[in-house]
Symmetry: C2
Subunit: 355 residues, 2 copies
């Protein structure tokens, strides 16, 4: 059955896989919904997107994605409330960031309507896949990659923009121990660190594996020049609480401008939690851990929302963070997820109903 | 017809595309030979490679190559001499570097025999595709990418190692004008710049486009911290000739350890050309351009072998290089290509016959 919603042609899957899915025991990003959005760039412009059954992508071996890593992506979530209403969180921010990333990767920018209408249409078609259970959500993965061919290190002439969705449980189970990185780094001044470019993530895998072998779960990235400034926590922005002040580093061309990060800053300010956006040095964090003023550290990102850090390693020493209830992390996480899932008022206008 | 060579099963293409190719007017990397090598990593190990008809790759939309840029590649050339003998240039260096790149990108390392036997078998099957015309060659592109699935930023559990080949003409036509980069950079200390990782190349496209808009063809990359050290020329290593001395920067974790670069160093030394491997500052190059001691600049890499630079831009000033015959660039290029194509003796043992 082919229909059209928001000008987007829909080819429905013949059969649904939904009954095979155990919605009570979802992992993160391992099961994919019945449909996907596809939009192709060729002949110098983005073609009208279509919704079609989730299916393999067929590419020439010379497609530039395989050779030159020309790809960008986004990560979002859709939530279903008790009344079956479907909500997104600040989706226009993801759209804007996708185009910021694309520009840096020499990928043609996407029209807003293709992104927003495409997303809404896809969610409409696959609305049964949006979990209702608390902590669960439909993880949404928009991505663009170079599908044009050639063994010449230059931008492709064809691209694919795809959105896939995956009903998902929580990203991290529990608190994480992190290693402050002294040798490796994820981004350069004047590089692509601020973009959500595929290659940034592959570069993190090996240093993260080394940290895992040493008993940590994540790496705290520091600047590549001095390794003295704390920049990100794995694939999340980082917050540090010193006494009662929440501190996070300023964004830069090395750091992703996270939507969770900026929402936390706004939310904390509105709740009279003192917030400072300024460079954080490793030495001050170590010092604060030693003198007891370091109360909390946490990562912030769409997947985990807020991921509390229980301790960190640095120069072969381990530092523990205090354990207590009423942390900023748990309070802010509840506040944000309540707004996201329509359990609390949204004075910021962040929630976006899909209808 | 299925046969086996070097333990590698061969599925022959039913028809050949070779008669469609104009071997007198080859571009670089736009036409692909009849066959490809494929080797899959799954269940914790690399499976036996096979040679099969050049064909599309079919991947799930959740394959990690699309999302996390986990890929590495190599670039090599095969030459055919007047007696129809087939030659590679230092292929074991490419094999070793592929594994060095893989390690940094958390990709499982490949056994040497899969690479070397796979390559030899593929070249045996497609030997008619190796051009004989001077300046032409069969460009060889080994690459590995994450084919395993999941929206979780962690290494994939499945990979594909593929070799494709493309009969090719010269990479650059003529001399290039370059822009010394003051803002963007291609790699970080502790990053992946020394690896031939896909993501490194996509990151270069946008700054290169900006340079092209200003009338240059390539960017000279400088260090990301001070932009005061000259590091690479586009996707090539860089050499500068000051008076009669050839200077190239030392390799580091930001710079690819080029096989052409190290061959040039050895060759120049053996010919009593003074060579220095030391950091090169932008200021000394500008100074040398001003006082006339800057004689030559050139890029060095497999594709172009040596690519002479005719002038450079820096801080809105343009600097011209002198024009004269008997340059190091033309002399060294001839020496190397003569060795590569079996037109001259090979005292270094670089040439490798495929038989
Ligand atoms: C490197 C990096 N930092 C930070 C974030 C957090 O960004 P957001 O809150 O928009 O998800 C992400 C994405 O999740 C990321 O990939
Ligand atoms: C970034 C970069 N630098 C230098 C080189 C030169 O290396 P090689 O001489 O081994 O081809 C290459 C590859 O061609 C490269 O991609």
């Amino acid at each position: 059955m082919n229909t059209i919603i928001n000008n987007i042609a829909i080819e429905k899957a013949k059969t649904s896989k939904i009954n095979e899915v155990d919605f009570d025991n979802l992992k993160f990003g391992h099961v994919f919904s019945d449909h996907m959005l596809e939009c192709n760039y060729k002949g110098g412009k983005w073609q009208t997107p279509v919704v079609k059954p989730y299916q393999p992508i067929v590419l020439d071996p010379a497609a530039k994605i395989f050779h030159y890593g020309q790809s960008v992506f986004e990560g979002m979530k859709a939530y279903k409330d008790v009344d079956e209403k479907v909500w997104l969180f600040r989706p226009l921010e993801n759209f804007k960031r996708l185009n910021i990333s694309s520009k840096r990767l020499a990928i043609p920018e996407l029209p807003e309507s293709y992104f927003m209408d495409g997303l809404k249409t896809l969610l409409e078609v696959d609305k049964d896949w949006i979990p209702k259970k608390a902590g669960s959500s439909l993880y949404i993965r928009p991505f663009i990659f170079a599908s044009g061919n050639g063994f010449h290190a230059s931008p492709a002439d064809e691209y694919k923009f795809i959105i896939c969705t995956a009903p998902s449980g929580a990203y991290f189970a529990g608190e994480v121990r992190v290693l402050i990185e002294e040798k490796y780094s994820r981004s350069a001044n004047g590089g692509v660190g601020f973009a959500k470019a595929g290659g940034n993530y592959a570069g993190q895998f090996y240093p993260t594996q080394l940290a895992i072998e040493k008993g940590y779960q994540q790496v705290i990235w520091t600047d590549d020049n001095t390794h003295e400034y704390i920049e990100e926590a794995g694939a999340m922005n980082i917050f540090v609480r010193i006494n009662d002040t929440l501190v996070t580093g300023p964004t830069s061309d090395r750091i992703l401008d996270g939507i969770t990060r900026k929402s936390i800053i706004e939310l904390a300010k509105s709740e009279n939690i003192p917030v400072e956006v300024r460079k954080i040095t490793v030495s001050e964090v170590v010092e604060a851990a030693k003198n007891g003023s370091l109360k909390e550290m946490f990562g912030a990102g769409t997947a985990a929302v807020i991921s509390p850090i229980s301790g960190f390693g640095y120069k072969n020493e381990d530092y523990e963070l205090p354990k207590f209830d009423d942390t900023y992390a748990s309070y802010l996480k509840k506040r944000i997820t309540d707004i996201q899932t329509n359990k609390a008022a949204d004075p910021f206008g962040w929630r976006y109903e899909v209808k």
